[in-house]
Amino acid sequence: MLSIKEYQTVTSISGPLMMVEMVDAAKYGHIVDIELGDGSIRHGQILQVENDKVLVQVFEGTSGIDVEKSTVRFLAKPLELAVSPEILGRVFNGLGQPKDDGPAIIPTKRLDINGQPINPYARNYPNEFIQTGISTIDGLNPLVRGQKLPIFSGAGLPHDQITAQLARQASVLGHGEQFAVVFAAMGITFEAAQFFINDLHETGAIERSVMFVNLANDPAIERIATPRFALTCAEYLAFEQDMHVLVILNDMTNYCEALREISAARKEVPGRRGYPGYLYTDLATIYERSGRIKGKDGSITMVPVLTMPEDDKTHPVPDLTGYITEGQIILSRSLHRKAVSPPVDVLPSLSRLKDKGIGEGKTREDHADLYNQLYAGYARGKEAQELATIMGEAALSAEDKKYMTFANEFETRYISQGYYENRSVEDTLNLGWELLSMFDDSELKRIDVDLIKKYMPRFRNKN
């Protein structure tokens, strides 16, 4: 082990960055402790080394740091998380330090929070259906173990309720097995974090949860490390402790803003809306840490949450997220206004791994045909809804009216279920059939004729 070296050679400070000179043998990516004149300690990470000059990003921010009186200690290691099975049930701050009044973790090992990429050859394709109890997910956009499926939300939309519902209800079909939950809060409000934590307490899920909490009034730069701590913890639980882990990252937009702040301070050429050009790659090193690995029993399923500025899907944060994740669940402001809860915008939402997790032996043979039909019917019905708002209901053809009725029913009964109903996938599928029963069989072009005979209520009742 290298001995720890100390320097008092801070030469400049600008924004969240600090320059230290005359440093010997600093290494890129390693961490430092900064002792201020008053004895308090801050933490930093080396962003660049050139000869004896070292550029450090300070997680807690630089305000109050004094060029003269500060001492910088080079710890000769990257940021690490101490792990042991006792980590479950604990709460940490955004820099991985215990925040509850529990005992110090006696580590079985320390892990570099940057992790290593999973060798693509070692991956196992995600294909085990997760029952979330939410119809718009289970029925239309099924989530599978090892998937990364973000929630694209907006300011004031109820993503916190949905993530809490997911954490409460998600289980693998047939196994009834519960997930361990790793929650990373980045810049969210105290209330939002507390809502989530209380919910876990009430259901007892807190015992199998780990929290990394950086709140809105906590240091912004710290947020760059927070999801990495959470994922390092998740990897440990999944691939060393054989657990199925659900990781919730909330809110990735705040994470990206912290990254933008560093990039601006470094005077890098800005990309779209000032975000750095490497935002895609940086996000990928977070999102791609989900998955399954051959020969390992555990898995990491990830639900990042992000708020779209101005509800704009083409904003760099949702855009680049969508380019990396395996689909997206989009929330709709207009459904939210109509008091549809959860207000999932079905048409632009998509789970790309849905097809591998459903069907006979997994959910039910009619699942794929059924969601195609529901989707098509709702798409048509929504058009009719829109037409009706423009031209008035009277202008609709009988056909259009029927589809509009369907869309309305679909929204109030299928999409809207509240945050505390845990629907089995069976119930979700049957509800789909019930809604479709307002159409003639010949209109259900996307469903195999035999399946209609088998599952349509009017035939089933005869059997």
């Binding site: 600093a26 990257p78 693509p120 895609y280 098509a376």
Partner: protein
């Protein structure tokens, strides 16, 4: 190797490391960086300072650590064993890395691209004593059930072949020697190497004249790609770029497919790895994996290796082309490659051009696509090879004015434009028929042996595209005044366009039958839809009501015709009889 040049790290900024003491080093030399022995490549030289792009994560590297010049450019190993391999961006075999080092990528591991221990049965195809020079085929190795791997004389070798014997060899054993005029001898091996940034030489380039059949109806019928041609697939996220690339990798009638997963998802590579060994090539009946080479440098793997990955892929592809094969390369996504370039450029503090991309972005993209083509290959026997490139492009926000899209459109001959709107309507492939184009359309006729069929098909594509264009205008009118205001012929045009979209252009990649449609079946399906159109118009002219035409039960059969397996294609042909029958029964 005691004389190796050794410098010292002076600066580390992300993936770029600067070293001093590098006098005499050459651009693009591969170096080993730091105590961890990371692999890098020199991308800039200033006096004795070298800037190095490092193919591995640089955390933990610092000034003072050694940098060793291997004095060789970044190269790939070419020879038996490429097929069925999966490599990272710098040709390290990912399967063997898992075995050696576990499920996570560790750093500093060098592993050769070709297996050193495996023996291959080599059969000479020329006599000892023959004069050979670059590109000449000296013998063959059967690599798997599909591919005859031709062993070619490497560049710089010329003379008389001696001691060339049939036998089982590893890729590094000597299979024979070439005696040059000056008496020097060069050993021939099954393996050769090639620097990835240089294209492999050809005698001359030829204009493409054959289509590369993909089995995807909207592509083959309307926007085909040629053997030796270039195409790009731009589109916002989730519109189907990867599915198009996977479909092509599965079904194109090429001898070899090189698939480069460049900065995309790990699970998509796993998907290929699990599916390809199971899927059968429609022509040979052998697993598709037996003709495929995979390069996987996913988004979370180091960016510098991502930058290299497309070059590794294209060099391997050229090598098979040189054997006289038809090769297709898919790169998903070239935007991630461009971003890797941008990242390195930024760290080199180069002057940025648009959107932060380096000024040479356009030149690099053009040079990459220029490596495609139909060519006369070097060497004897005389042979033709073709290499097609299909690149996905992922523009921010789906905005086609993006630099990478624009630079790509400058050079490629086929544009498959993916539309978010179509994808959201679940119309897949979401290739927009109004804005896409192909410069290879004229070769469509060459796909048919029967001249008459060829002419008919060409006419059909023109007619049906005409209808689709008309549809977009008619829909405007309908939006303003309602469908009732249209004439019966216009309403018929709308109805047939709908059928063209839903029953022909729409193709489900995940349906057992629908995933691939032969050229013959494309002809029959399209012919059937247009036949109904023609017969309907004739009936309308005779006074049959359009409502009756719309209600013909045969429409149901037409809608399901694409799911009729190839073996039962006669059933598709028979639908025309049903059309006649049902229209005949309509009262005028």
């Amino acid at each position: 190797m005691s004389e190796t040049r050794q410098g010292r790290v002076v600066k580390v900024a992300g993936p770029v490391v600067t070293a001093d003491g590098m006098t005499g080093a050459r651009m693009y030399d591969v170096v080993r960086v730091g105590k961890l022995n990371l692999i890098g490549e020199i991308v800039e030289l200033h006096g004795d300072l070298a800037s190095i792009q490092v193919y591995e994560e640089t955390v933990g590297i610092g000034p003072g650590e050694p940098v060793i010049d291997t004095e060789a450019p970044l190269s790939v190993e070419l020879g038996p064993g490429l097929i069925e391999s999966i490599y990272d961006g710098i040709q390290r075999p990912l399967d063997l890395l898992v075995e050696a080092e576990g499920e996570f990528m560790s750093r500093g591991s060098a592993m050769p691209g070709l297996n050193r221990k495996k023996r291959w049965l080599f059969k000479p195809t020329i006599e000892n004593g023959a004069e050979v020079s670059v590109g000449d085929i000296v013998g063959e190795v059967k690599e798997g059930p599909l591919l005859v791997h031709k062993i070619m004389v490497p560049v710089g070798v010329q003379g008389k072949v001696e001691n060339l014997n049939e036998g089982e060899y590893t890729v590094i054993e000597t299979i024979g020697v070439v005696k040059a005029a000056d008496g020097s001898e060069i050993k021939l091996k099954l393996m050769q190497t090639w620097p990835v940034r240089n294209s492999r030489a050809v005698i001359n380039r030829l204009a493409p004249n054959q289509l590369l059949i993909t089995g995807q109806r909207v592509i083959d019928t309307f926007f085909p790609i040629a053997k030796g041609g270039t195409a790009c697939v731009p589109g916002p996220f989730g519109t189907g770029k990867t599915v198009v690339q996977h479909q092509l990798a599965k079904w194109v009638d090429a001898d070899v497919v090189v698939y480069v997963g460049c900065g995309e998802r790990g699970n998509e590579m796993t998907d290929v790895l699990t599916e390809f060994p199971e899927l059968k090539d429609p022509r040979s009946g052998e697993p598709l994996m037996k003709r495929s080479v995979l390069i996987a440098n996913t988004s979370n793997m180091p960016v510098a290796a991502r930058e290299a990955s497309v070059y590794t892929g294209i060099t391997i592809a050229e090598y098979f082309r040189d054997m006289g094969y038809v090769v297709a390369l898919m790169a998903d996504s070239t935007s991630r490659w461009a971003e890797a370039m941008r990242e390195i450029s930024t760290r080199l503090e180069e002057m940025p051009a648009e959107e932060g991309y380096p000024a040479y972005l356009g030149a690099r993209i053009a040079a990459f696509y220029e490596r495609a083509g139909r060519v006369n290959c070097c060497g004897k026997p005389k042979r033709e090879g073709a290499l097609s490139i299909i690149g996905a492009v992922s523009p921010p926000g789906g905005d086609l004015s993006d630099s990478v899209v624009q630079a790509t459109l400058h050079v490629v001959k086929v544009f498959w434009s993916l539309m978010a709107k179509l994808a959201q309507q679940r119309h897949f492939p979401a290739i927009d028929w109004l804005t896409s184009y192909s410069f290879y359309k004229e070769y469509l006729a060459n796909c048919f042996e029967d001249k008459d069929q060829a002419d008919k098909m060409v006419a059909l594509t023109i007619e049906s595209m005409g209808l689709l264009e008309q549809e977009s205008q008619l829909l405007e009118i309908v939006r303003l005044v309602g469908a009732e205001a249209l004439s019966p012929t216009d309403r018929m045009a709308l109805e047939t366009s709908r059928s063209l979209r839903e029953d022909y252009l729409h193709q489900n990649a995940f349906h057992k039958v629908d995933t691939y449609t032969s050229m013959e079946k494309q002809y029959e399906l399209l012919g059937m839809i247009m036949y109904l159109h023609k017969q309907s118009l004739a009936a309308i002219a005779k006074g049959v009501s359009i409502e009756d035409i719309f209600k013909l039960p045969v429409r149901e059969e037409i809608a399901r015709a694409k799911y009729i397996p190839q073996e039962e294609i006669a059933k598709v042909v028979k639908i025309r009889e049903t059309i006649d029958e049902q229209i005949g029964k309509c009262k005028s």
